[in-house]
């Protein structure tokens, strides 16, 4: 038995086990970890096939994607409120079983046809070596043979990005977003305190110069002196000295 086979068996077993772990683990974060491990193992199988480029792209794209997935889980899912494991509706459960079996059969059929008729197309190891390696081979294929499909996919992704931006916009499109204009300060204006008391060890009291002008804050923001921050920060509360400033 050659070493290749041993390594393949290890990687394959690990990827199946991690895939099972992904489906069966009750904790969504653990599922995410298993998913990443599964992708890493699949990347290992790609390396063994001599497709290093695919392996690296697999890691870059999918670990990044699963990271986002994990972030959504962390931000949006309350672990205490997860439904029980087998609480799916009967229709969902049966349909997913059916779809899974169909997918498995399709993959099996693909493997069987591949082994019986041999590799399709002219992408033999020698042909890939002739164009300079599998980076070049993948690049040439995508940008010549599948150029239209590639562009259509980019368009779809762009539409998705625009959709996300529109959904995330706080206001309706075209409406100007209001920004905070004033700086609220809880400090006392210079000179408002009058004479300060003498210090405990008899330091000279601070003498306030009444003729001195208070510098205006730069940057076009008005400075509001407030004794109570709630006057200005509570939503909708605009009484008491805040005649004309906007929220």
């Amino acid at each position: 038995m050659s070493w290749d086979l041993v390594f393949f068996a290890l990687l394959a077993a690990a990827s199946i086990l991690t895939a099972l772990g992904m489906v069966l683990s009750p904790n969504p974060v653990h599922s995410g970890i298993f998913l990443v491990l599964c992708f890493l193992n699949v990347a290992g199988i790609f390396v063994m096939l001599g497709a290093e480029f695919l392996a690296v792209i697999q890691i870059i794209v999918y670990t990044g994607a699963v990271l986002i997935l994990l972030l959504f889980v962390l931000m949006l899912v309350d672990p205490d409120e997860l439904p029980a494991f087998s609480s799916a509706r009967p229709l969902q459960r049966n349909l997913s079983l059916l779809l899974g079996v169909v997918l498995l059969l399709e993959i099996g059929a693909a493997i069987i046809t591949r082994t019986s008729i041999g590799p399709v197309g002219n992408d033999s190891p020698e042909a890939i070596e002739a164009v300079g390696g599998n980076v070049q081979a993948v690049g040439i294929t995508i940008y010549s043979k599948y150029l239209l499909a590639f562009e259509v996919i980019s368009l779809i992704l762009t539409v998705g990005v625009i959709g996300a931006v529109v959904l995330a916009l706080p206001e309706r499109l075209g409406e100007k977003v209001q920004r905070r204009r004033d700086t609220i300060s809880l400090a006392h204006a210079r000179g408002a305190d009058g004479l300060l008391p003498e210090g405990p060890r008899g330091e000279t009291p601070i003498v306030v110069d009444p003729t001195r002008e208070i510098a205006e804050p730069v940057g076009g923001r008005r400075l509001i002196m407030a004794s109570d921050p709630d006057e200005y920060t509570r939503v909708g509360a605009r009484q008491g000295g805040s005649e004309d400033h906007d929220a």
Partner: protein, 347 residues
């Protein structure tokens, strides 16, 4: 890749691993000394001459501390997350070339662990896998501050990874390869302006990409001024708040090894790697040049930390998506245009 028996590769890998670990330990000493000099202090002086044994003392101290696991923590993930950071940081060093093939005691030895033909992407991929250690450790700690640090780290790394990748595309276009060794060999060519013969380093033909790469690399390694994930003043040290003893030091080691590997990576990509006077004849000189270039980058890291205040998080995201990303894209377009012009495919 020149073929060599697997045991030689193993020995090279062993040497690279240990040199990396030792240089990481002395990186902490270097940082403390430089930082101290910049702040008009002495830095570590007590252990050994000039405090040279300080890293050993620190390691012993950290090893002797109790390994605490919070009661609410997800135990297995909590224990394994720092290891992920550490392993990912070390793995990236495997594709850094330290020279070509040399003859040593009748054996031809490659001065690199492996010459993956997608080496550059490999480093990016491993880097993106390393973030998992941070976010999972942060989540498993069951601590709000840690989680905030982890979320910041994830958002930051996802944004800056993009810029890191895009800043390299110009180099790929010019050199026609994504193998680190290929890129290094491409830079050993020279071009001449009058009597001057100048090395064809990519910092000269891709200056904008170099600046973008530097900024993104600092953000990728979570270093000041982009050290928001571990902002001690607001997050109580962020993602590693709950970690103690050796597991904390694994995060620490991971961060410093990341810095060293990124500096090696930058030297190889933009400063010609081992290229320098005399490096063609003596491979030792090549190693020295690479060492000096790497030290320059590491000094830059420390310099930044001593000089710049931390960014605000919205500024961090704003600068990534609104300034750096368009610049990186523009750099790709301009480089591609000149490449096509040079090939004579237009006009």
């Amino acid at each position: 890749m020149a073929d060599q028996p697997i045991w030689i590769s193993c020995i090279v890998a062993f040497i690279v691993l240990n040199v990396l670990l030792i240089s990481m330990a002395y990186m902490t000493w270097f940082e403390r000394k430089v930082l101290a000099a910049m702040q008009d202090r002495l830095g570590p002086t007590r252990s050994g001459p000039h405090g040279l044994f300080q890293p050993l003392a620190d390691a012993v101290k950290l090893l002797g501390k109790e390994d605490l696991v919070p009661a609410a923590a997800d135990r297995i993930v909590f224990l394994l997350a720092p290891v992920a950071v550490f392993v990912a940081a070390l793995t990236a060093a495997a594709v850094i070339p330290f020279g070509g093939t040399i003859d040593l005691w009748g054996q031809s030895v490659n001065l690199y662990v492996t010459d993956l033909n997608v080496g550059t992407l490999f480093i990016l991929a491993v880097g993106s896998a390393g973030v998992y250690g941070i976010i999972l450790g942060a989540w498993a700690s069951a601590n709000r501050y840690s989680l905030l640090g982890g979320l910041r780290s994830a958002a930051q790394v996802i944004s800056y990874e993009l810029i890191l990748g895009f800043s390299l595309v110009g180099i790929f276009i010019l050199s026609g390869t994504i193998s680190l060794r290929g890129i290094m060999e491409h830079q050993q060519r020279t071009f001449s302006i009058g009597p001057l013969e100048i090395s064809n380093w990519f910092i000269l033909s891709q200056p904008l990409a170099f600046v973008l790469f530097l900024i993104a690399a600092v953000a990728e390694t979570n270093r000041a001024p982009f050290d928001l994930p571990e902002a001690e003043t607001e997050l109580v040290a962020g993602f590693h708040t709950e970690y103690s003893g050796f597991r904390f030091s694994l995060y620490f080691l991971g961060e410093y090894i990341n810095m060293i590997v990124t500096s090696l990576f930058a030297s190889t990509l933009f400063l010609g790697g081992t290229d320098g006077p005399g490096s063609d004849t003596y491979w030792g000189l090549g190693l020295l040049w690479l060492f000096l270039k790497t030290i320059a980058f590491l000094f830059f890291y420390v310099w930044l930390r001593a000089t710049l205040p931390r960014f605000r998080f919205d500024q961090l995201m704003g600068i990534a998506w609104k300034v750096l990303l368009p610049l990186a894209l523009a750099n790709i377009v301009v480089t591609a245009f000149f490449r096509i012009l040079a090939n004579g495919q237009v006009f």
